[in-house]
């Protein structure tokens, strides 16, 4: 009898561990749990969401919101915003953030569930192609009516509004005004003020000259400069700056010449320009070309922050990191400016920064009607209420394409101001065409070829082939 009891106990202990195992799995892994379970896991903000749910049981029957957020750096802000909304309306809002670089993976598994995200995002036409069956038509929504320009709406083949951009971002060459001004005081300096740089030729002349006179500058001004440009790292955390963002310029000019906005076969008419910029990045640099493959985005950021380099290709999103006191960088907000990425085309004196969006909100068309309505109401609240606008503009630091932000909700970010100044001066901004790149595989191919060219194990023809032939192959493979 004793033995029997013992074995039953053992067996039930085993069962218990098994279920405990399943249970903790569900809480840990965003891949298998309900939003509610994740909310409990996601910290105070989401926990108070649950409390709100309990306080207003009637409201929760009217639908709920589940937002799968793309930007990890804005997770806390979204959680706080969700909690505020729940407090005010009683509608439960769950925000889950996918880990950096795993959004597609997370979305794929989340959306297959019963409690699927009601709100998610795609990165442009190519992303939309993958998720078109899950994007409801937003053309009748209030959100869409607040868009300042139709350019910020993502439309599917049928012309329906499938996605709406919620943040406009800008990139270019971030430079250190203080060092560049000091450089201008040197004897025989190529330029007399940073504003003189308005085409590739001048930019290259300045970069070459700074690179050649590093010791002179360090001695004269007491800097610890190591190169004109920060390292063009080809580690996964940095290579997108070149295989995607820099590659956008030759694509942009080719589209512009042809008057198209996407293509099934790129010709690569501006690849020589691409080459000369890349050559400049890897020669006038803090880093030997052979070491590029392991240089990370953080290293490039630190080099710029610690005043070891003058130029740094990146975007508005870097502002927070560069000015964050915790990082201990020497560079200050007043020292920083952003200039266009000149690649040496005719008339580029008039070129502005690269401005666009690759973050489009989509509402899940397969969610219940109540949830869809709740989601639209939530989004509308985000872009019209004081709390929402304050959070988006000041906490998240977004420039948004909505007309509701016009009265005083603009981000305090020198790069965004640089972009506004360029636009005010009548310069044309370069649109983001990299969202028409056929696949990630294309980017990887170009990135690898760039790296091999840089370290001398491959030649430029391989880049051309990855760019042109790769485009055709990838387009065919994905269509």
């Amino acid at each position: 009898m004793k033995r029997k009891v013992l074995s039953v106990m053992l067996a039930s202990a085993m069962l218990a561990t098994m279920f405990a195992g399943c249970g903790s799995d569900a809480a840990d892994d965003a891949g298998t749990s309900t939003p509610a379970a994740d909310a409990a896991d996601a910290g105070d903000a989401a926990a108070s969401t649950e409390a709100g749910d309990a306080a207003a049981p009637a409201a929760s029957g009217e639908g709920q919101v589940y937002y799968l957020n793309f930007k990890p750096e804005q997770n806390d802000a979204w959680q706080a915003l969700a909690a505020t909304y729940t407090e005010q309306t009683g509608v439960p809002v769950t925000v889950i953030t996918a880990a950096d670089g795993t959004y597609e993976q997370t979305l794929k598994s989340e959306i297959a569930k019963t409690e699927a995200p009601t709100l998610f995002q795609v990165n442009g036409p190519v992303g939309l192609a993958n998720w078109k069956d899950y994007c409801m038509d937003l053309s009748g929504s209030e959100l869409y009516s607040h868009l300042t320009s139709d350019d910020y709406a993502l439309k599917n083949d049928a012309g329906e509004v499938s996605g709406i951009a919620y943040v406009i971002e800008t990139y270019g060459i971030i430079y250190n005004k203080k060092i560049l001004n000091d450089y201008c005081t040197l004897e025989n300096a190529v330029i007399s003020s940073p504003e003189d740089i308005n085409n590739f030729e001048t930019l290259k002349a300045v970069a070459d000259d700074i690179q050649a006179r590093l010791d002179e500058m360090n001695d004269t001004f007491g800097y610890e400069l190591k190169g004109a440009f920060t390292s063009a790292g080809m580690d996964g955390s940095s290579d997108w700056r070149f295989k995607t963002h820099l590659a956008n310029l030759p694509i942009y000019y080719e589209y512009k010449d042809k008057g198209i906005d996407s293509t099934d076969a790129i010709e690569g008419t501006y690849l020589d320009n691409y080459k000369q910029v890349w050559d400049m990045y890897i020669t006038d640099s803090t880093c030997e070309p052979g070491l590029l493959s392991s240089k990370t985005g953080d290293e490039a950021e630190a080099e710029f922050g610690m005043e070891e380099a003058v130029f740094y290709q990146n975007g508005t999103w870097e502002y927070g990191n560069l000015t964050n006191d915790d990082n201990g960088y020497l560079v200050t907000a007043e020292d920083m400016g952003m200039m266009p990425i000149y690649i040496g085309v005719e008339g580029e004196e008039n070129q502005g920064l690269c401005t666009g969006s690759e973050n489009y909100w989509c509402v899940n068309s397969q969610a219940s009607a109540e949830d869809q309505q709740a989601t639209l109401d939530f989004l509308n609240w985000v872009i019209t209420s004081d709390e929402g606008r304050d959070s988006m503009a000041n906490v998240m630091g977004f420039t948004t394409p909505f007309d509701t932000f016009a009265d005083g909700y603009t981000a305090d970010n020198v790069f965004i101001q640089a972009d506004a100044a360029n636009t005010a001066a009548g310069k044309y901004s370069v649109t983001w065409n990299f969202s028409t790149i056929p696949s990630e595989t294309w980017k990887d191919g170009v990135g690898s070829a760039l790296l091999e060219y840089a370290q001398g194990t491959g030649d430029w023809d391989a880049v051309v082939s990855a760019f042109v032939d790769g485009w055709a192959t990838e387009y065919a493979a994905t269509h």
């Binding site: 053992l10 959306i111 993958n130 996964g236 493959s293 392991s294 790296l451 994905t478």
Partner: protein
């Protein structure tokens, strides 16, 4: 005893069976089905027949990854087993500090693959930096980097298995061989190795399948760079699944083929080494 085992069999085996079914059999069957489908999410898959399998053959990275993996497996299985066996022989001779050595050699095995990958990336890049190069300079650097990493991680584990095998050889067998005039190499060849054959079976099986299925170390050390030239099969499958729209099914089909290859090799290896085992 026999009877009560039978009686309580369901109570003890059922939880495991349920877990095995949910965690392995169901996903496995679903996976095979999905390899014949086109899908964005696994819940709305559309049957497309053999299209995914045909696509694999138009993808040159797959065959490259296959050969790279095969070569890596051969080199690392040989290196790991020979070195592990040699160390096991040394550490059964009763030299001072045997236990400390065993512990130290075993420890790398306790560290996860991703962490190891990054640690070794830093170490190897630190050395290569003197030559103005990095691990991803060419695929052969990545290849040998992976071999070194895997040796470092696996030798200790295999060593423990070999040690237990060697310690299980009855002392009188070796003594008898010596009295019969066998030299040390002869003892090794005709007594020790045949007697540890069960350990060799286990060790080659483990190293073979581990090397073939290697993923985390590959991802952390080189991530397939340069130009996918140091990409192994598992990483290739992962990349296929996520980096092209509409290619999820092709990734799944590759995974099915991958399973068949690993299963065939593992079963064949098991047969071959098993047949060499001797009964004590």
């Amino acid at each position: 005893m026999e009877k009560s085992i039978k009686k309580y069999f369901p109570i003890f085996a059922l939880p495991t069976m349920v877990a095995f079914t949910l965690g392995f059999i169901v996903p496995f069957i679903m996976g095979i089905y999905l390899s014949f489908c086109e899908f964005t999410t696994i819940t709305d898959a559309k049957f497309v027949g053999l299209k995914n399998y045909i696509r694999i053959f138009s993808d040159s990275t797959f065959t490259h990854a296959l050969w790279f993996t095969a070569l890596f497996t051969v080199v690392s299985v040989l290196a790991i087993n020979v070195l592990a066996f040699a160390i096991a022989m040394l550490l059964t001779k009763g030299i001072r500090g045997t236990n400390a050595f065993r512990t130290v050699f075993f420890m790398p095995n306790l560290i996860g693959g991703i962490v190891l990958g990054y640690i070794w990336q830093i170490l190897l890049n630190g050395i290569l930096e003197h030559f103005g190069k990095t691990l991803t300079y060419s695929a052969s650097y990545g290849f040998w980097g992976l071999v070194i990493l895997m040796c470092w991680q696996q030798i200790g584990y295999m060593m423990i298995i070999y040690i237990s095998g060697i310690q299980n050889i009855p002392g009188e067998l070796i003594e008898a061989a010596k009295i019969d005039g066998a030299t040390a190499p002869q003892v090794l060849r005709y007594v020790t190795i045949p007697m540890v054959m069960p350990s060799i079976t286990i060790c080659t099986f483990l190293t073979l399948t581990n090397s073939f299925k290697l993923f985390d170390q590959n991802l952390a050390l080189t991530a397939g760079e340069p130009s996918n030239n140091s990409q192994m099969l598992a990483l290739n499958i992962f990349e296929t699944f996520y980096s092209r729209t509409g290619w999820e099914g092709a990734g799944q089909a590759k995974a099915v083929i991958f399973f068949i290859i690993v299963a065939v090799i593992a079963v064949a290896q098991n047969r071959i080494t098993r047949s060499k085992e001797v009964q004590q």
